[in-house]
Every structure is written in structure tokens, then in C-alpha cells.
Amino acid sequence: MTSTASNPSAHAEAPRPSAPPAVVVRNVKKAFKLPHQQYHTLKERALHPFRKDTFDVLQAVDDVDFEIAEGEFFGIVGRNGSGKSTLLKCLAGIYDIDEGDLHVRGRLSPFIELGVGFNMDLTARDNVMINAIMLGLTRQQARERFDDIIAFAGLEDFLDLKLKNYSSGMTVRLAFSVAIQVDAEVILIDEVLAVGDAAFQQKCFDEFHRLKDAGRTILFVTHDMSSVERFCDRAVLLEKGRMIDLGEPAAIARRYHELNFGRTVHQLAEGDGEERFGDRSAEIVDAWFEDAAGARISELTHGKPCRVCMEARFHEPIEDPVFGFTLRNDVGATIFATSTDLSDVATGGFAAGETVVVRLAFDNVMTQSTYTVTPSIARAGLGADALDLRADLAKLVVHGGPWTGAVVNLPHTFAVQRA
């Protein structure tokens, strides 16, 4: 083992020493030759017999090395062109590898590049049967699984429609449904969350939990760091075919964002190096998000009312303290900040030993991403001496809503009027 992770955090290794690895990837290399001029016909070859074939070698996967324990939910992240899909195709046994060793224990079901090789001229019914058999079921087993597959995809009414008449979302749903319902021990999932509506995404999340509970080994490729942090036990970060980090999902997600945006994102509260200011004469004990009913939440659908809260304890009497909240998105940009002071809310006096819960209610106009809240308490007055500030203490994953690329989606109405 020559190249393990460059930065294996102490708690990164999954605590499953006894379980034999389900997937072993040993120093795997895979290169593609990219000819400068593609010879596709014999004539071209005959006309230029002595022209040397010049080509670039693209090292798509370069010395990747890891093991995945049985039952592990393993993330593979990286930017476009980092070699994720090639690695997955090698794992799926679609591409041959140049060097190294690959072992997969048990049956493997791949869901790669949003498909499982459907034939567009056939009905959903035929395609499901073909794919289930291709994935290793017998005809009998395929028939037994059929209803589950269709039910999960939610396509009961379109069984006998040819796939070319399906919407792309429907096709992907069906493909994903086949891939996860064939009882494979190892499942490769490539970017399923990028498509499909919120309802289907939620279904996928539920399914991930179910597969995890069932002890399936899952390799999960995505650009969505919030789902990596949510589901993965460990993750690997690839860049230009090389493995640049392997470890705990939160750390990997951070490195991924660093790669993308070239700067450090504020660390989440779980980390050791928590950013904290203030003289602590009042202390923030906790912060959380909750829904309209008051239940604590870690995720929320776009558009729903919600509250962000903090609980604080006073160690000395304070008159009219200023409670503040700052919301940041996944790249660390502040998207909203407010305080009781700015909102002209009088807070009153507090005695030593008293605790308080402060709630800020708003409608969730934030778009799909991960958000953190930084609660703060400060003394009244212009100087605003910080009593306590805890950066990124709680986290919220927002899903659903239109994907506009913007940070927020404000409530709005259009008026189009001719002059």
C-alpha cells in the first residue's frame, strides 16, 4: 500500500475491524489514449501509413487505493473530470484497468451516468425485466421484484409506454429503481440526486436509510456535499485522477469546497477548532433550527416556515442584551444577519443563572444548500461587546424549491403590463 490518504484524520477510519472488505481498490490506474487525429477508416490509414499515431495519455484514474468495509456508505466526490465516473466504471467491470487490483465481493449493481442501458424502443415492462436479468436476477426473481421496482419509481400507470415517450426524469427514476431493487450486495450510485423532483429526492433519502439498515455496501458519487455529510460513513476526494483525501465526510466536504472556491469555508461546529468569541459572561449553550411545530430539524423544504433558536445562560446580570443570528451558506457567504437591536426588540434584564431561549421565525426563502447559523449575544450599546459568539453552531439542509442557482428565492409576483 503505497498511497493511503494524504491526510487521514484520527477518527477517519471506519470502526469495523472485523468485517471483511466488500470492495478493495489497490493502486488502480487507468489511462485513456486520446489520439490527436482519430483514424476511423481504413482509407485514412491507407493514405497515411507512415503518419505516426500521436496521442495524449489522459491518466483518468491514477493510483487510487482504498478499501470499503461491508455495509459501509462510501462517498466518492470530486469536481467534473476528476475521474469519478471512470473509477466507477472500473469498479462496475465495464472498463479494464491498466494496473492494480480490484475486488468486489458479491453481486454489484451499477447506476452510472443516470442510466442502466435502457432500450428506448421497448416498454418500461420489458426494459425492467431485461435489466433485472442483466444485473444477475433469474427470470423468476425478476418477475417477483417487478412490482416493487415499478412502485418505487411511481410509474404504475406507464408500464406499457415505450421509454422514448418517457420524460427524462421518469427514465432516471425507473433506472434508479431497478438498480437498487435487485438485491445486489454492492450498489454504485452516480449522481441520482441531480435529477428528479423533491418528492423523488426524499424517496431516495429514505431508500438510502433502508439500504444502510439492510447492510448494503454503497458507493455514492455526488456533488451534493450535504448528502455526503448526511449519509456517508467515509468519503474519498479525487482530483485529476488522484486521491487527495480520504476520511470523514465533513472534512472531505470542506476540502471539496476549498478545491472549488479556493478558500476555506467556515468549519462546522462538530470540528475541534470552533470559532468562538466573547467574555462568556453570558454563554450560548445550544442553537438549533426548528419547524413551525417546534420540532428540531436538520433539514427543511424550501418555502416552509421555520425558526432558528438559541439557548443561553447568564453568569452575571445583563441589561438589554442583544441577541443576534447570522446565516451562512455552504461556501461561507453570509446570506442573512439580524439582531434584536436591529429589529428594535427590547430584551429586558436578566439575572445571573437565568437561562433564555431566543427564537427567530422566518419563512424559508433559502434555496437548496446547507446553511449554518452563528448565534451571538452582545452587550447593549454602540460598542457591542461580544458576550458569546459561536460560529456555525447549527446546520440546516434545505431541499426542494426551484433550482435557480441563486442563494434565495424571495416571495414574488409578476406583473406584465403593456404600455
Binding site: Y95, G106, G117
Partner: protein, 284 residues
């Protein structure tokens, strides 16, 4: 579930896979799918593929017996013509079908791990099925025409196996070559034309033998495996007065040449396919 929990030693896609039963099931399924896709939506559906050799026969028969008075003196010439056309149709359906078969299955090849050889074999299987259906028509036609039922008809089975081996060998070879060189298709069209006229399909080996004697081109024609097979079919199935393959080739020992060609093409096709199989998906 049959315990497919085998530790995959070599993980790359292969031509044959490691489970013969699964290999066969997949071939069968792909052939069935092919069938469905091809005949779904055309009114007469499957009938068309059965009609094609019959119509072709009708045209050739009319031209060569009514216009050129070609089959005169050949016993049961129409039966011979129909039989050879049906066998030729099988050969051409398999080989031409194989040329682009990997490309049309690109979706599967790029997303799934399965023995690659099932794709060209499914093409051959479909053609073989059609051959079986067509053979029923040939049988009926032969009996109506007064061809005698003889024990030598049993020779048809090994002869069909020979032409199937040849077709599979050529087909697998063409299918992987096409992945690298796209002009395999027009080249094969031309070669097939030459083969068609270079084999006793419209004519019968007896006529050629009468004219040719021991000339080089005669021997060359008679030693092409398709000619050998068709000639023997003529002798064993149509009429015993037609020459045997051995007689047409000018000696039993010479039959080793077409047999060796069939064996070599079959082996070469499978070997080459097996060699290329791990990289088909990325070269497509």
C-alpha cells in the same frame, strides 16, 4: 439466489463470463428483445422476414428459369434454389447483423457488466431461428415438388452447424473490427456480393463442374466453404444425382480445406473477440 458471490479474480468485462447458464439466458433474452423491437409496429411483423427469402426466390426463379432457361436439366432446380437462398439468407443475416451490433448496444455495453459475446451470439440466434422457420417452407416446397424423403436429409443438421460456425466466426470478427474501423460495413457488403456469386446459389455445382474441369478458379470456387456446404446440401437433400461436395471439389481430401477454413475462421473470430472484449466499451 444462485450464489454469484464469487470473488472476481479478473474484474474486467470478458467475452464469455464465468457462468455458462447466465451466458445462455442473456443471449436468449437479447435475441428475444431484438425480435420484439424489430417486428413491433410493422403490420405483417414477423411475416416479412419470412417472406424476404421467398420473394427473393420468386424473382431469381422467374429470371433464371423463364428468361435465361437456366435450370434446365437440373433435377429439382427450384428446390435447390430455394434451399440455398434460405441458407445464404441465414449467413448474411448473421454476418451483416453482427457488423453494427456492438454499436447499437452501446447503451448496455457502457453501463453494464456482462459477457460481451452474448451480443453477436444473440444476432446469430435470431438468424438461426429464422432459418428454422424458413426451413419449414423449404420442406413443404420440397415435398410438394416431389423430392424424395431420404435418410441423407439428416446430413442437414451437421451442415447447418457448419454454416452457423462459419457465420459466427465471421460475425464476431466483423463486430469487433467495426468498433475500430467504421468502413468494415461497406467492405463487407462488397465481399458478401462476391461470395454470393462465387458460391453455387443460383447455379449448381454440377453445371460449373461440367464447364470448369480442373481449372484454378473452379477449384477456388469449390473450395469456398459456403460452396462446399451448399453442394453437399444439394446432394443430400435435393437430389442424389447432384454431385457431392467431395466430387465437386475433386477429391475427398480436398474437403479438408473448406473444413479447415471454417474451423480457422470460427477460432479466429472468438479469439479476436475475446482479446478485444475488455476494451469494447471504451473504444466505442
Amino acid at each position: 439466489m444462485s450464489a454469484t458471490t464469487v470473488e472476481a479474480k479478473r474484474h474486467a468485462p470478458s467475452a464469455f463470463g464465468d457462468d455458462l447458464r447466465r451466458f445462455w439466458n442473456l443471449t436468449l433474452m437479447l435475441a428475444a428483445t431484438d425480435f420484439k423491437v424489430r417486428y413491433f409496429g410493422s403490420v405483417l411483423g414477423y411475416l416479412w422476414s419470412l417472406m424476404r427469402p421467398l420473394l427473393f426466390f420468386g424473382v431469381l426463379y422467374t429470371v433464371f428459369t423463364q428468361v435465361f432457361r437456366f435450370g434446365k436439366g437440373i433435377p429439382h432446380y427450384p428446390v435447390y434454389l430455394l434451399g440455398s437462398i434460405v441458407l445464404w439468407t441465414f449467413f448474411i443475416e448473421t454476418t451483416s447483423g453482427c457488423v453494427q451490433c456492438l454499436l447499437t448496444r452501446e447503451g448496455l455495453l457502457r453501463k453494464m457488466r456482462f459477457p460481451r459475446l452474448v451480443i453477436p451470439l444473440a444476432v446469430a440466434l435470431t438468424a438461426l431461428f429464422n432459418l428454422g422457420m424458413n426451413f419449414v417452407a423449404v420442406l413443404a416446397f420440397a415435398l410438394i415438388s416431389g423430392v424424395e424423403l431420404r435418410w441423407t436429409w439428416l446430413e442437414l443438421l451437421p451442415l447447418a452447424m457448419l454454416i452457423a460456425s462459419l457465420a459466427i466466426g465471421v460475425g464476431t470478427l466483423l463486430s469487433v473490427l467495426y468498433v475500430r474501423f467504421r468502413d468494415i460495413q461497406p467492405i463487407w457488403e462488397v465481399v458478401a456480393q462476391i461470395l454470393f456469386y462465387g458460391s453455387p446459389i443460383i447455379y449448381v455445382a454440377a453445371q460449373y463442374a461440367a464447364k470448369g474441369g480442373e481449372r484454378v478458379e473452379h477449384v477456388a470456387v469449390m473450395l469456398n466453404p459456403i460452396a462446399t456446404i451448399l453442394t453437399q446440401v444439394g446432394h443430400a437433400f435435393v437430389d442424389p444425382s447432384l454431385p457431392t461436395a467431395a466430387a465437386a471439389a475433386g477429391g475427398t481430401a480436398r474437403l479438408l480445406i473448406p473444413l479447415a477454413i471454417i474451423a480457422a475462421v470460427f477460432a479466429l473470430g472468438l479469439w479476436f473477440f475475446n482479446r478485444e472484449a475488455p476494451r469494447i466499451a471504451e473504444n466505442l
